[in-house]
């Protein structure tokens, strides 16, 4: 018999899952100490690293040939970190055609291997990234110590070098002002909650990244299990907060009105869009509106500033707001 108190992850509340592994090559100093020539040599060496990888085809993007708008758009898609988007000419990206797998070269560490997917899928992602990591391990020599595990530029990433993270949509806990309490309580068990684009960013649209903060002394499997357990608890708290907040017609009316604005607006700022997206996504999660959640999440990324800039010439804020409104109307009508 199953424990009645067992908490489950609500798949609708989970926007996406991500795992990254920090790895370094034994023979080079870490990126911050690399000379320009050593960085260029390393980039050359890793250019064809995944050419014969069976699981997926990869493109090699030398970041010196990638415009700041393209890099910003990839950052908004969470394919690269904000630090990497601002990175120097020394970095490169191996990007899987399906965008599920990628490898950042010369971020804070030589390699940041990443697997990402929609919804709650940490176990699947770990299986995929483990295979990719084994493949790379067969081609290079990683910096490793029996005591500290995979050696990383920052000692906080020692051990498995894993950072598993789940992006959650938590409008009810946010609206009830309970997020600080959640953040504090999960920090006691080695879990961090951050805003949309990682450390130090605002949690706009009520989206939060929940990830492990410790990677030494805990295996990859234990890390994924711990994170899943905590995510299930947060989902349960959100569910209770939603029952209290959104059971009456008045609050539901606010969600429907938000949908109405998105369908008819002619100007839409980034901040307004985020707030309305959150309400419409919530209405869809509560089955008040028949909308596909992954379509909404895709629209959310397309409406971010850099992604909008990709669709046309350099635009003023006003032009961008018009374009955003037109895109949203087109998708929702």
């Amino acid at each position: 018999m199953k424990d009645k108190k067992e908490k489950r992850i609500d798949p609708n509340m989970v926007v996406s899952s991500r795992i990254r592994l920090a790895r370094n090559l034994k023979k080079y100093p870490f990126p911050a100490r690399l000379t320009d020539s050593a960085a260029a040599e390393m980039k050359g060496e890793l250019h064809g690293l995944l050419e014969d990888y069976n699981g997926e085809s990869f493109d090699f993007l030398d970041m010196k040939n990638v415009s700041s708008v393209q890099a910003g758009a990839m950052m908004e898609e969470h394919l690269i970190s904000p630090e990497f988007a601002r990175a120097s000419e020394r970095s490169a990206l191996l990007l899987g055609r399906s965008k599920r797998l990628s490898v950042m070269i010369n971020e804070e560490d030589h390699l940041r291997i990443q697997a990402m997917g929609p919804g709650a899928c940490l176990e699947e992602l770990y299986e995929a990234i483990d295979v990719l990591d084994d493949f790379i391990d067969g081609k290079v020599v990683y910096a490793f110590s029996e005591k500290y595990g995979y050696l990383t530029a920052c000692p906080t990433n020692l051990g498995t070098g894993i950072r598993a993270s789940v992006m959650l949509h938590l409008p009810a806990l946010t609206r009830r002002g309970l997020m600080d309490r959640v953040i504090h309580s999960v920090s006691q068990v080695g879990i961090t909650v951050r805003g949309l684009y990682g450390e130090g960013t605002q949690a706009g649209a009520c989206l939060y990244q929940v990830s492990n903060s410790v990677s030494l002394g805990m295996s990859e499997k234990e890390t994924v299990e711990l994170l899943n357990r905590i995510v299930a608890q947060i989902c349960d708290s959100e569910r209770i907060a939603r029952e209290q907040l959104y059971s009456d017609l008045r609050t539901q009316d606010d969600l429907f009105r938000s949908y109405g604005i998105l369908k008819e607006c002619r100007m839409l700022t980034s901040a307004e869009f985020r707030a309305l997206y959150s309400k419409v996504r919530l209405a869809a999660e509560l089955k008040l509106l028949d909308l596909n959640l992954s379509d909404l999440d895709r629209l959310f990324i397309e409406c971010q500033p850099y992604n909008l800039m990709l669709t046309g010439e350099a635009q003023s804020d006003g032009e961008r707001d018009q374009r955003r409104a037109a895109l949203v109307r087109q998708r929702l009508n």
Binding site: E108, C154, V214, L216
Partner: protein, 163 residues
């Protein structure tokens, strides 16, 4: 004379400590003295306690000098402690004293568990206390072969720590 903390500025402050009849002394610049709670804030008792322990660390380090520069990448201990970032894989060996103080604050006294690369020698890392516990158990059960192996491992680890 250069400050013994930052090794950059001229030392202007002299600090002397006598513990159990043993006297140690340290020379600091005014900036480091203030940072360690020994400058103008000498009378600030909140800082004073911190200052004493920090200076004790500094004094302690004189008797067993730790590496101040990584022989492989050239990172200095100051750079590592200021940025919190290691320069290369060998920094983990060069600055092991620093790490011994830092890591318990980040992840407790844990050692790696989980995946290993193909180059790993395959042995699980064991710290001194767990090796000693296993040695006691081996002696108790009269498993002298294992006890000899464990004794050698303990000796190797202890001599590594003393370096």
């Amino acid at each position: 004379m250069l400050c013994e903390n930052c090794k950059k500025n001229t030392a202007t402050t002299y600090f002397k400590q006598t513990v159990n009849g043993k006297t140690r002394e340290v020379f600091l610049c005014s900036e480091c003295a203030a940072k360690l709670g020994l400058g103008d804030s000498l009378m600030n008792f909140g800082n004073f306690g911190f200052g004493l322990s920090a200076v004790s660390d500094l004094l302690g380090s004189r008797s067993a000098p730790a590496a101040t520069r990584c022989p492989t990448c050239g990172s200095s201990l100051d750079e590592v402690s200021d940025t919190g970032m290691m320069g290369c894989a060998d920094c983990y060996d060069a600055f092991r004293d620093y790490l011994r103080k830092l890591l318990p604050r980040i992840s407790g006294n844990k050692v790696h568990t989980g995946k290993k690369p193909h180059t790993s020698e395959g042995e699980k890392y064991e710290d001194l206390s767990s090796l000693k516990a296993r040695l006691a158990e081996a002696v108790k059960t009269e498993n002298f072969e294992e006890a000899t192996v464990l004794r050698d491992k303990i000796r190797a680890l202890e001599s590594q720590d003393k370096e």
